[in-house]
Amino acid sequence: MTPLLDVADLAVHFPVFRGPLRRKAGTVRAVDGVSLQVFRGETLALVGESGCGKSTLARAVLRLQEPSAGQLRFEGQDLLRLDRRAMKAARRRMRMVFQDPHASLNPRLRAGEIVGEAFDIHGCTRRERDAGVAELLTLVGLGPEHAARFPHEFSGGQRQRIGIARALALHPSLVVCDEPVSALDVSVQAQIVNLLMELQERLGLSYLFISHDLHLVEFIADRVAVMYLGRIVETAPIQSLYAAPLHPYTQALLAASPSIDPDRRHQHVVPDGEVPSPLSPPSGCAFHPRCPFAIANCRAEMPPLLTLAPGHDVRCWRAGEWAAAPQRAAIPVGS
């Protein structure tokens, strides 16, 4: 099966200028050689902490941020070879839902104009647009009567529904969701999560779902890619990732994420140290300064992404050991 979205060795580098003469002081490798696939109808979650490059990667996939290197194939097209017009046409099929529903809706436009803008940009008639807007608002659980209201008249959850309706205009096949519920209250989060899953089922959508909430990801995703300092360190189907995480960073993330489950609640496992600066990443494996299992080789050389089981890739020199003895992978980190 060919993937809907195929990202190969994608890199996004930002030059950093410092000093009075704005000399180039270095390069931030925000995304550095990332490969991933999203198949039709599936949800691939991208998890990691702030600064790991997950949002930059999402923007690069839509070419909202021009990649520095790599390949990007979407529905069989090589996106990086498309000119502006062709890229604009391709963007009908790949849309984005943003994190903050307060900041991502223009306060001066009515809900109908926000949702309908895509129809105008892509040259639809007025009638197509009005019909489309009414249908989309109904689809996301609002009503056609909401089209005349301004964003400030809606609650946070309703605003995110408008953001989702906007993304679904013109029948996309891929929706990139950048932390779509993290700005919402818990009781509203559940409503939006249910809506996203229902829409996926009805419309056959694929999601690239960016999140830092591992509980949510387990609920919504089919596969997970874990990023650390610009690189993917582990990719796995949901079940194997949560049952037997192989990369020490994934183990640390799972252990650190606060849980309300009684048997996990009192695990006090804390990974040491902080995320290093992407301006001067550590040598070898970028996680080695924080990793309790680091060996000499980890400091010297970046491990390759190894496939240890079907669909389960890990970037760790010692991954073979964890895979062979899964009970040892049961997080002896810290305490």
Partner: protein
């Protein structure tokens, strides 16, 4: 009135200790152009010596405002319009501003949500922290800096003497929050109010900060009020939990009870609506998350009766009419729901 209890971690119930701070029927209203917003409207809770009380609720539930009221720091247009706050036997609401100033940062200290904005960017860490000791304890600059360095070391900051000369922008988010914690502990407070202390941080850093807080609290036998929207954080940290909704307390119980046998319909719904690791959601047979229909009421014009009634699956006709009053249904477990036997005030 809240009774006190032994926490789950402490299986031998002792005689109920006297609470260090007790909030009684607290009312904080915002006097806005559009009318009076009843942000905190008759709230009771208490914190025992050495324990952590977690206050959870969604945005607008009044959790932050009620904790600011304990320091008499509610910002205009809000005013504390009723109730009592008994701290070490005295009502803070009757203290003079001068008496409050002598108390803040010394007996009751606060850790703020955003470490990036709660430190002053134009003073060095050493200057802004030692100022507190100079002011409260009439310490000399030198004594103050020694004590600051000692505390920075205690909160896990390496090379504290260098850090004293640094400015907030030179520190990472996690480091800044460690400084915020050191600042709160400078005068050995009896009570620390922590308002979403880890919300602005990444999960691995959050875990480090939570561990540090728990450790320091046990070491100094402080009481702590931890205000958060994150059930996972209170699960890890709190001895007892108070759940707030729309300016009122729904339920207070020890942490284990809140998670294993919640009684108030809002507490139940809130817990059910959270995805959990380990609940093995299998693809295909994937269920939906249970949701709470509707959204929190507008506190300009709160609904009559129970404030949760229009979203509550168990609401009966009386819930629209009767405002429930918190009542104990078991030792240390109070609920305000007439369907759980709470008495009420008819509208």
């Amino acid at each position: 009135m809240l009774s006190t209890l032994a926490s789950a971690a402490d299986p031998t119930p002792m005689a109920a200790p006297k609470p260090l701070i007790e909030v009684q029927d607290l009312k904080v209203h915002f006097f806005t152009r559009d009318g009076v917003v009843r942000a905190v409207d008759g709230v009771d809770y208490g914190v025992n010596p050495g324990e952590t009380l977690g206050i959870v609720g969604e945005s607008g539930s009044g959790k932050t405002v009620s904790s600011l009221a304990m320091l008499r720091l509610v910002p205009p247009p809000a005013r504390t319009v009723g109730g009592r706050i008994l701290f070490e036997g005295e009502d803070l609401l009757t203290r003079t501003p001068k008496q409050m100033a002598a108390l803040r940062g010394r007996r009751i200290a606060m850790i703020f949500q955003n470490p990036a904005t709660s430190l002053n960017p134009i003073y060095s860490i050493g200057a802004q922290l030692s100022e507190i000791l100079v002011w409260h304890e009439k310490a000399s600059r030198r004594q103050a800096e020694e004590r600051v360095a000692e505390l920075l070391n205690l909160v896990g900051i390496t090379d504290p003497l260098t850090r004293l000369r640094q400015f907030p922008h030179e520190l990472s988010g996690g480091m800044k929050q460690r400084v915020g914690i050191a600042r709160a502990l400078l005068c050995n407070p009896a009570l620390v109010l922590a308002d979403e202390p880890t919300t602005a941080l990444d999960v691995t850093i959050q875990a480090q900060i939570l561990e540090l807080l728990a450790d320091l609290q046990a070491r100094f036998h402080m009481s702590m009020v931890l205000v958060t929207h994150d059930m996972g954080v209170v699960a890890r940290m709190a001895n007892r939990i108070t759940v707030m909704y729309a300016g009122r307390v729904c339920e207070t119980a020890d942490a284990a009870t809140i998670f294993s046998a919640p009684q108030h319909p809002y507490t139940r719904a809130l817990l059910e609506s959270m995805p959990r690791i380990d609940q093995s959601y299998s693809r295909g047979a994937r269920q939906k998350l249970p949701t709470i229909a509707g959204r929190p009421p507008n506190l300009l014009n709160p609904p009559a009766g129970c404030r949760f009634h229009d979203r509550c699956p168990e609401a009966i006709a009386d819930c629209r009419r009767i405002l429930p009053v918190e009542t104990a249904i078991a030792p240390g477990h109070t609920v305000s729901c007439i369907r759980r036997g709470s008495p009420g005030i008819a509208a």
